[in-house]
Amino acid sequence: MAARSGSLHRAAYLMVGDVGLAQDLVQEALTKTYVAWPRLRDPHNAEAYTRKAITTTAISWFRRKGWNNERATERLPEGSTGDHAARVDQQQVLWTALQELPVRQRTAIVLRYYEDLTEAQTAAAMDCAVGTVKSQVSAGIAKLRDRLADRVGDDAARSFDLQTQAVTR
């Protein structure tokens, strides 16, 4: 499992947006897995168990600790010239907007777009209905698009590939 910790950390980081928190989250999830270890011998199941623990624990932390998704993020760019610089700026804005989403929307997006899970698998990982996954992803994408438009303008937002119709599986 330790050999897979990099993959676990990366997913956790995308969910919480902070390296330290991501490490705490993985540590907690691995502890839960360790407690269940007497019944875990297959590596695939241990990893599935840990990934599910990361997801449910992240949601629980955000709810229990009252984090409002408005944690300090990196300074927004002032505006740049040149296509590459503009692209970098837009990615920074997108990252900031992602971190400002409600935790369930952010988690659903990470599971769908980073972990490449199906809607059913995402629903199982988040302990919610498939319909909820669809609505959380849809709402999250819509917010990302709105915030991109607010911060970099409609044209730049449109240049970003944020189409929702292609995500249903």
Partner: protein, 367 residues
């Protein structure tokens, strides 16, 4: 696919470096939790013995031939006797029947009078073939399968609302927790609404307005006075009114309580050949667990979805990569505590137009 978003996620995730997990701490904390869980389970049984006095024998199986009358059931069987239920898009399947509703079903909760479903942010009530919008919510909502009440959080208004499906009346509840973006109604049980707010969980009696402070826990379910919740250390099960009698269990998944509160069914990982995810049913009084014998393969996703009656739980099996495997999603009905399961609904994926749509299983889990 949203290529830019995917690129961003992969770039950001790959740009950071992470320290290796602290294995020594994991082992130390894990061992401590395991010890506490064992002690907790024992203490729970002992506390129960004190609470019921000589009634402890009622927790044991009735004798076969000792001539004594069978002891009273400490967990009276509730009247629930539902048929397995699932929804696809705008259709609700109840046993052999199908009901078509006006909106797309994102979530559904049923009561003894009918059901309430969420379509977008709207909540629609369905009773005797008639449906109407009763409210809106962006949070979770819950219904009492043994009663008539459905409650939800109106986050915009910072309040909790309750519908009585017998009368159609909607009333506002005063709750002692903050109803913010993270708040949700997690259960309605015996005329009491259970809410997890931004600053803790609480119960509110709908008729009398009495409130109870449940502390810093995240509620998962409540049935017949028994709760399932996440506390600071993990999943706990036990009486709402007596935290000392709660037991801690391994399950990392949100599960579902039986109508009498005796059992808690949740996905878990089991040693088997080959090992795979399964559904375990935990005795909420002792923490003892039995595994349900569902036909799932390695890496399939399985989850408990609801209870048909006090001894029968439904379990959904989603094949790992349903598209490639060619196997359909299936719904099983399982007897507790024997663990024997039978297939009751299969191949919903083959229903017309369903492949890209959501499927829900009212009653818990993917409700």
């Amino acid at each position: 696919m949203t290529d830019d978003l995917m690129d961003l996620l992969h770039q950001r995730a790959g740009a950071e470096t992470f320290a290796q997990p602290d294995l020594a701490t994991i082992v130390a904390v894990g061992n401590r939790r395991a010890r506490r869980r064992r002690v907790g389970a024992t203490a729970g049984v002992a506390a129960l013995a004190v609470a019921v006095g000589v009634g402890l024998v009622t927790l044991l199986p009735a004798g076969d031939d000792d001539g004594a009358p069978a002891p009273a059931d400490p967990f009276p069987t509730r009247t629930r006797a539902f048929e397995p239920m699932a929804t696809v898009g705008t259709r609700v399947f109840v046993g052999e029947r199908m009901i078509r509703v006006e909106g797309w079903i994102d979530d559904l909760e049923r009561t003894r009078a009918g059901f309430v479903y969420r379509t977008g942010d709207d909540l629609r009530s369905y009773v005797d073939g008639t449906e109407s919008v009763v409210g809106t919510t962006t949070g979770s909502f819950a219904g009492d399968e043994d009663g008539y009440l459905v409650a939800w959080t109106d986050v915009a208004g910072g309040q909790v609302l309750v519908l009585d499906q017998r009368t159609g009346d909607v009333v506002r509840l005063d709750v002692p927790v903050t109803v913010g973006a993270g708040a949700g109604v997690e259960a309605v049980d015996g005329g009491t609404v259970y809410v997890t707010g931004d600053d803790g969980s609480a119960s509110v009696d709908v008729a009398g307005g009495e409130t109870g402070d449940l502390g810093d826990i995240d509620l998962l379910d409540v049935e017949d006075g028994v709760l399932a919740a996440w506390d600071q250390t993990g999943t706990v099960l036990g009486p709402v009114e007596d935290p000392a009698r709660r037991v801690e269990v391994d399950a990392v998944d949100q599960g579902t309580l039986s109508p009498d509160g005796r059992w808690y069914a949740a996905a878990d990982v089991f040693e088997s050949n080959p090992p795979n995810l399964g559904v375990g049913v935990v005795d909420t009084a002792t923490g003892d667990e039995v595994r349900l014998d569902v036909d799932a393969r390695q890496r399939d996703l399985v989850d408990a979805t609801g209870w048909i009656d006090a001894d029968t739980v439904t379990v959904a099996v989603v094949p790992w990569n349903e598209e490639r495997s060619g196997r359909p999603e299936q719904l099983f009905s399982c007897d507790v505590p024997s663990g024997a399961c039978t297939l009751v609904i299969a191949d919903h994926g083959a229903l017309p137009g369903n492949r890209q749509t959501g499927k829900t299983y009212p009653g818990g889990g993917w409700s």
